[in-house]
């Protein structure tokens, strides 16, 4: 999507600004990009206008491989709680750089088998017609499982419960 106006219209309610606009522009094309210093090549997230390592103001938004590991995660249960499962929210540490993390849902997973160190890869969900980045255990991982109805439901929920 080329026009900034159209992009803003595509994400009502999100406070898109000059620092984060490329992140949201890429999401619409199902691409995950992360802010990266054009000078020293250090990544940072969330996107800001300066490199925290070298203070360069030349910051680009570059695609990442989408591969990473779960750094830490929690299963969020609804008010009724308990055994029915919930949504699995994780801080995924991207392979690109140590401690560079994206918070996202983990789907297509045996939730109880997801632990720190579980290898995951990028996948996409839809919320209100817009792509949302998520992760799933890589094929062959003991935590990999088929998609469930809970996966679909999870993305529709808010973050406040």
């Amino acid at each position: 999507m080329d026009s900034d106006e159209a992009l803003l219209e595509a994400w009502p309610g999100v406070r898109i600004d000059r620092d984060n606009i490329e992140y949201y522009r890429a999401l619409l094309d199902r691409r995950l990009v992360v802010a990266r210093c054009r000078d020293c090549r250090t990544w940072h997230h969330p996107p800001r206008s300066v490199c925290p390592r070298c203070w360069s103001r030349s910051i680009g938004a570059e695609p990442v491989s989408g591969r990473g590991t779960v750094a830490f995660s929690t299963i969020v249960h609804g008010r009724r709680g308990g055994s029915a499962g919930g949504r699995l929210v994780a801080a995924v540490e991207l392979d690109e750089q140590e401690a560079l993390r994206i918070a996202a849902l983990v789907v297509e997973a045996d939730q109880a088998a997801v632990t720190p160190g579980t290898e995951v890869e990028l996948t996409w969900l839809e919320r209100e017609g817009r792509p949302v980045p998520a992760f799933r255990p890589v094929a062959g991982s003991p935590a990999a499982a088929r998609a469930t109805a809970a996966d679909e439901q999870a993305v529709q929920e808010g973050a406040s419960s």
């Binding site: 898109i16 984060n20 997230h45 925290p52 929690t74 918070a103 720190p116 973050a159």
Partner: protein
Amino acid sequence: MSPARYPARDQVAIVGVGRSPYSRDRQGCTPGSLVIDATIAALRDCGLGAGDVDGICGSMVAAQYVQAALGIPAVTWFANPPAVIGNQIVAAVAAIASGVCDTALVYHHAYRLPWASAAAAKDPFRRRSTVGMADSRSFWGTGHVDNGAGSMFGAVPYAAWAGRYLHDYGYGRDRLGLVAINSRTNAVSNPDAVYREPLTMEDYLDGRMVREPLCVYDMDVPIDGADAFVLTTAERARDLPHPSVLVHAATLGHTDYGSEEQLRDLDHAGQVVVARRLWEISELGRDDMDLLYPYEGFSNIMLCWLENLGFCGRGEAGDFMVEHWDDAQQRLLVNGRVPVNSHGGSLSEGGTQGSGAVREAVRQLRGTLAERQVHGARAALVTPGGFYFNSQGMILRRD
């Protein structure tokens, strides 16, 4: 070794404490009314009036609102720093010690917003109270906060860090359970606490799972209530009715990894900075403390405080809880002597992000509590806040 430069040491006293009672079923209050209850009570506690106050420092309710509400004719200093409650106290101590003002009113309130509970959501005034309310984007001053279902925001990352902690050090949930039981046992002897029924480990392990591994007993209890404090110079404090409680040392702490999912590891939490700084500027050491108030609004936060403050090493707090557990009393007594969160903490007295702990520490050091008084207590260590945004600490001592 002499302590680091800290000219404010023992220069400022907490002379007044006041509260608006903590409650889970209160009607008719507003954030403003809660703060007014507490600030008036704090001023009456030390016999001061509106004309004696020349500084105001609160959390969410604007200092200017309180000034107008109480008819405080003139102040030379005011502030509304965001972190509770050390941010307000550190600021007030700095303002008084440097002479920007002499006597400061400090306060914090908790008000159950509609998403705090089903009961709160039913109250039409609570629903209306969010009109115009700033969200997390305002705090950061930037547009980028993922507020979707996959975001690490609020309670979710604390639960995730709790899971990482149990995973890394091989503990079961029972070690978190000891934190919850300790707070509850202490709350039993606090008539002002909202949860006073004893809690057993069986109750804890059966508790409704909310965000794994944290169950309903691991998370602070939403209440309406407020605490307020009057701070003034140590010199003036000696002319006021209560024994003076001095701010011996107070600090904030933050690192450049200071957000939820980006926090590198627990060794980079703000708590580490707080602990290092507190022990640098304090003339008192860990063994001089008669009372400990490590924040436990999420139970795992308290375990990390114990480690970062040096009571044990990284990953050892789960075992520390067992080693210092008094089985007969069903609570933690460090070295068989020092109670931890003697008022019941945020888990059982009520969730006010640590302002309840400051109030309790002051009252304990005055020596005027009934049942739960720690006799002869001279020093208290109060460390509000979690891993990011709000790690804070203070050492209070009897003059």
